[in-house]
Each structure stands twice: as structure tokens, then as C-alpha cells.
């Protein structure tokens, strides 16, 4: 085998391995397209927190939870064997366009903007962050019933879940790494990677760790400029 052929095969192997590693190893989760609208999952409120805010079922009714994902939770309201309505709470961080329909509405329910979509759906935008929706199923619900159901959600507790409404953490003294969500993102010169920033950037309300327990981070150096001159 000639020398150049050997080199060629060797290089081909190396290139193949690198490409394979990039596409099949855990790097895959770094590629865009993993989450809805490429919003990081940690920026979206977990569905588990939303479950307990659903209305309490009346006598003869039953609430069956059907989906619980990050930023979304859905339940069916059943009466006997019949499904009356789909109830859901979603975090609009992953669907910014859904906010637009609330801009022109004058209707309010407990001071939050209210919109009717078609003949069977009503939606409420709570704290500019959570969309609460009731969709009538089967024989359907009238507007009045849907609005009552919307009002039966624990809206005050839901509004309190909004990360940007949480009290800001105390300003730390000394060298501090910024919490994961606030660090400057690594900008790669890849085309089509522009992330759509949600309008209200949720501040990460994390209690800063004491310096002794902090993991050493390469990002600490970058943040030195943010420190108050002591």
C-alpha cells in the first residue's frame, strides 16, 4: 500500500470518527431543535408546580391529569364517563406568539386579560407569563361556565410562580459566579442559531452559595469586572 493511500485512509477514519462523535454522542443535546422554540428547559416553569393550582372538582365531577411536561400541564374535567372540558396551564415562555391575542382585549377576569377563541375555548393570561385555558368538549360549555372554571383556578398562587415576580436575591459580597441562567452565553458563529429571547427575561431567583461550597468555575474570572471595588 502506498504511503499516500495509507495517510488518506487514516485521515478519512479520523474525520469519520469526529463526525460520528458529533452526531451520535451526547453532544447531540447541544444541537438546536431539542426543545420547543429552543428555549432552555430550565427557563420554563415545571408542570409539577402547576398541577396543584387546578380547580377542585365539584361533586360528581372528576379531574384527570393527562399531560405534565415542562411548562405545561393539562387535565380533563369529567362528569361520569363524559369529558366536559380540557383544562390547562402553559408557560408562554416557549410560545411567545400566544401573548399577542391578549393585547387588544378589554375583558378582564380578576384583573387578568381574558380572550375567547372560537366557540369553545377561553384563555386567561396571568402575570404576563402563564396562559390558563378551558376548552369545552363533547356537548360543550357556554361562555359563562368557561369563565367560572377559569376563575376557579388558584390564580393568585399562579401569579406568584412567575419567576420575575420573586424577590431578587440579596446582592452577594465577594467573588461570586453568576447563576447558570445569567452567565454570558458562548456565542458560536453558527447560522440559524439566534434564540428568540422571551420578552420578560425570568431572573433566576437562586440563593447564592457561600464561597466555601462554591465549585471553582472558569467563568469566575470573567465576572471579576462586575465586582464592587472593595
Amino acid at each position: 500500500m502506498s504511503r499516500s493511500l495509507r495517510w488518506g485512509i487514516g485521515l478519512l477514519l479520523v474525520a469519520g470518527l469526529l463526525l460520528g462523535a458529533f452526531f451520535f454522542l451526547p453532544f447531540r443535546s447541544w444541537l438546536p431543535g431539542g426543545t420547543v422554540g429552543n428555549i432552555a428547559t430550565r427557563e420554563v416553569v415545571n408542570g409539577t408546580l402547576l398541577n396543584r393550582l387546578f380547580p377542585k372538582p365539584q361533586t360528581g365531577e372528576q379531574l384527570v391529569f393527562t399531560q405534565e411536561k415542562r411548562g405545561f400541564s393539562q387535565a380533563r374535567l369529567k362528569q361520569g364517563a363524559e369529558v366536559r372540558a380540557l383544562l390547562s396551564i402553559s408557560d408562554v415562555a416557549s410560545s411567545p406568539a400566544s401573548r399577542n391575542k391578549f393585547i387588544h382585549t378589554e375583558e378582564r377576569l380578576q384583573s387578568w386579560p381574558l380572550v375567547d377563541q372560537g366557540s369553545q375555548a377561553s384563555a386567561l393570561l396571568v402575570a404576563d407569563r402563564f396562559q390558563v385555558k378551558v376548552i369545552g368538549q363533547g356537548s360543550g360549555l357556554d361562555v359563562q361556565q368557561r369563565h367560572e372554571l377559569l376563575g376557579a383556578f388558584d390564580l393568585a398562587a399562579l401569579a406568584a410562580l412567575n419567576p420575575s415576580a420573586l424577590p431578587a436575591p440579596a446582592i452577594p459580597t465577594g467573588r461570586q459566579a453568576l447563576p447558570p441562567g445569567k452567565q454570558a452565553p458562548l456565542r458560536l458563529p453558527l447560522p440559524g442559531l439566534q434564540r428568540q429571547a422571551p420578552k420578560a427575561q425570568p431572573s433566576q431567583a437562586r440563593v447564592p452559595q457561600p464561597a466555601a461550597h462554591r465549585k471553582p468555575s472558569i467563568f469566575n474570572r470573567d465576572n471579576a469586572a462586575l465586582e464592587p471595588a472593595a
Binding site: 420547543v36 411536561k69 405545561f72 393539562q74 380540557l86 410560545s95 377563541q117 372560537g118 376548552i135 368538549q137
Partner: protein, 295 residues
């Protein structure tokens, strides 16, 4: 880029053997079954309105959701596909064995194919496991919540009941006889990793099952089947399902059948995809319910 869930729904057949078999079996289930293959109809059914602009919005959102890898809707479909491939291959093997058994020269070949009852039991359990895994993918629960799966089975209504009736009839009652559900545990007890590997596309599903190694997979499958059996027993009793009734229900749509029940089951396995057909419809409905809530 593979197709989104709604595109898969649109490509489902409107009238073929699969649809006829399902229509036949749906006569046994109160509520019946409609072969919904149009995304727009499904959306306006969920939304209770056929405003074209709203339908368009829901569809765009559903496509966005099914393209996101973390959301699991497409992974649920790939589970159903893996099971479907396995069913076809196992059915094909048995058709081959039936044909080969009749020819003197290749009779030896027929003896090489695995015992069909064990194979059928494994096939059924893999389907149940896939049902459970797809349930956790779509509903967003951790991968081994057996109890939640058991509870959700009781909530299966309408189309989902037809789907389960098809599973019970085509994969348990017809091939294994009327006491199939009681024998299933015993049959699964005889299954080792050798039988598991004889199933042509266990390999396709192995990577999707939690745990490492055949033993872990097998115990996962058996725990899932335990949950399912507890429910299926009541289901069969409530609807009064039996092999005979299933054959009669099928005859109303696919025409008279003169062979045995086992041959009918083999035939259905090899030539229909009832499981993935209803699977795509079930996942599409869940996806649309979410998209309608998020627009």
C-alpha cells in the same frame, strides 16, 4: 428530517385491511370507532370550532411541538413503529412456518422457527411495554411509573378502548385462546434471553427500554404486563370478549373466515398494522390537545 406526527396521521390509510379489521373489532366496544386521518378535522374536533385561522395556528404549534426532541411525541411513535416491525416479522415467520410445514423438502425449516405461543406471548408483552413507555413519553412522567400507567388504563375511553380491544383480541385471545390472560404469566416465565433475541426487532426496541441487559428488560416488561393484566381481566369480563366473538366481529367486515383462530391471528399479524395505526391516532390527539391549549 422525518415526518411530524400530524403528517404521519395524514398518511394513514383510509380504507385497507387494517381499517377493516379495526372497524370489525369496534363493533364489540360501545362507543365505536372512527378512522380519523385528517389533522384539520381532529383539530376542529378538539377545539370545538372550525375557524380556519385557529386550526392553522394549532397545526403550526403541533408541528413545532412534535419537532422538539425533548417533548417525546415522536419518540412515542418510534416505539409503535418498532413494535409494528416486530409484529410483522414475527407474523411473517409464522406464515413461512405454516407454508414450509406443508412442503416435505423444507419441513426441517419449519422446525427451526421458535415455538409460536411463547413468541406470541413475548410479542404481546412487548406491545404492552411499548404502550406503557409511549404513555410516559406523551404524558411526561418518569419512565417506570407502573402504577400511573395502571390508573390511566382505567381512563381509556372511546377510541383508546377500541385500541386496547384490538390488542386483547388480535394478540391474546385469538392466538393464545380464551384463557390467554391467565396463561400469559406462565408463558413469560419460560422466556429467556434466547427467545427474546429470536424476536426480529427486539433489538429495535431494546434501546428504548429502561435498564441494561436482557434480564432487566424482561423484568421491566413483566412488571408492565402485571399492571396491564390486572386491568385487562376486568376489561375482557366487562365487554364479554372471547376468541369466537372476535372472529364473528371480524367476519362482518373482512368476510368469512374458514381457518382456525390461530391462523387468523397470524394472518392479521403479518398483513395489518392495527397497533401503529391506532397509536399514531392516539398520539396525534394528545399532541393536538396540547397545541390547542398553547396557542
Amino acid at each position: 428530517m422525518s415526518a411530524t406526527v400530524l403528517e404521519r396521521l395524514e398518511r394513514l390509510p383510509r380504507r385497507n385491511l387494517t381499517v377493516l379489521a379495526l372497524r370489525g373489532i369496534s363493533t364489540l366496544v360501545p362507543g365505536g370507532w372512527q378512522n380519523k386521518t385528517s389533522p384539520d378535522e381532529l383539530i376542529s374536533d378538539v377545539l370545538g370550532s372550525d375557524d380556519p385561522e385557529l386550526v392553522q395556528q394549532v397545526r403550526a404549534r403541533a408541528d413545532e411541538l412534535s419537532r422538539a426532541r425533548h417533548e417525546g411525541y415522536r419518540r412515542a411513535l418510534s416505539l409503535y413503529d418498532a413494535v409494528n416491525r416486530s409484529q410483522k416479522a414475527a407474523g411473517g415467520l409464522r406464515v413461512l412456518a405454516n407454508v414450509a410445514g406443508a412442503l416435505p423438502l423444507v419441513k426441517r425449516l419449519a422446525e427451526l422457527t421458535p415455538a409460536s405461543q411463547t413468541l406470541q406471548a413475548v410479542d404481546l408483552s412487548l406491545k404492552v411495554a411499548a404502550e406503557m413507555l409511549a404513555f410516559t413519553q406523551v404524558n411526561g412522567l418518569p419512565g417506570d411509573s407502573f402504577a400511573a400507567f395502571g390508573d390511566s388504563l382505567r381512563e381509556y375511553t372511546g377510541e383508546a378502548r377500541v385500541r386496547m380491544a384490538a390488542l386483547v383480541c388480535f394478540d391474546a385471545l385469538l392466538p393464545l385462546g380464551d384463557n390467554a390472560l391467565h396463561r400469559l404469566d406462565g408463558l413469560l416465565g419460560q422466556v429467556g434471553s434466547r427467545e427474546l433475541h429470536q424476536l426480529p426487532s427486539y433489538a429495535g426496541m431494546a434501546s428504548l427500554l429502561p435498564g441494561r441487559g436482557d434480564a432487566a428488560h424482561l423484568s421491566f416488561v413483566r412488571r408492565g404486563v402485571d399492571q396491564w393484566l390486572g386491568w385487562a381481566d376486568g376489561f375482557v369480563g366487562d365487554l364479554g370478549l372471547s376468541g369466537q366473538r372476535a372472529v364473528r366481529a371480524l367476519e362482518t367486515t373482512i368476510g368469512p373466515w374458514h381457518g382456525g383462530m390461530e391462523q387468523l391471528a397470524t394472518f392479521l399479524d403479518a398483513f395489518t398494522d392495527t397497533y401503529s395505526h391506532t397509536g399514531v391516532q392516539a398520539v396525534a390527539r394528545r399532541l393536538v390537545e396540547r397545541a390547542a391549549a398553547e396557542i
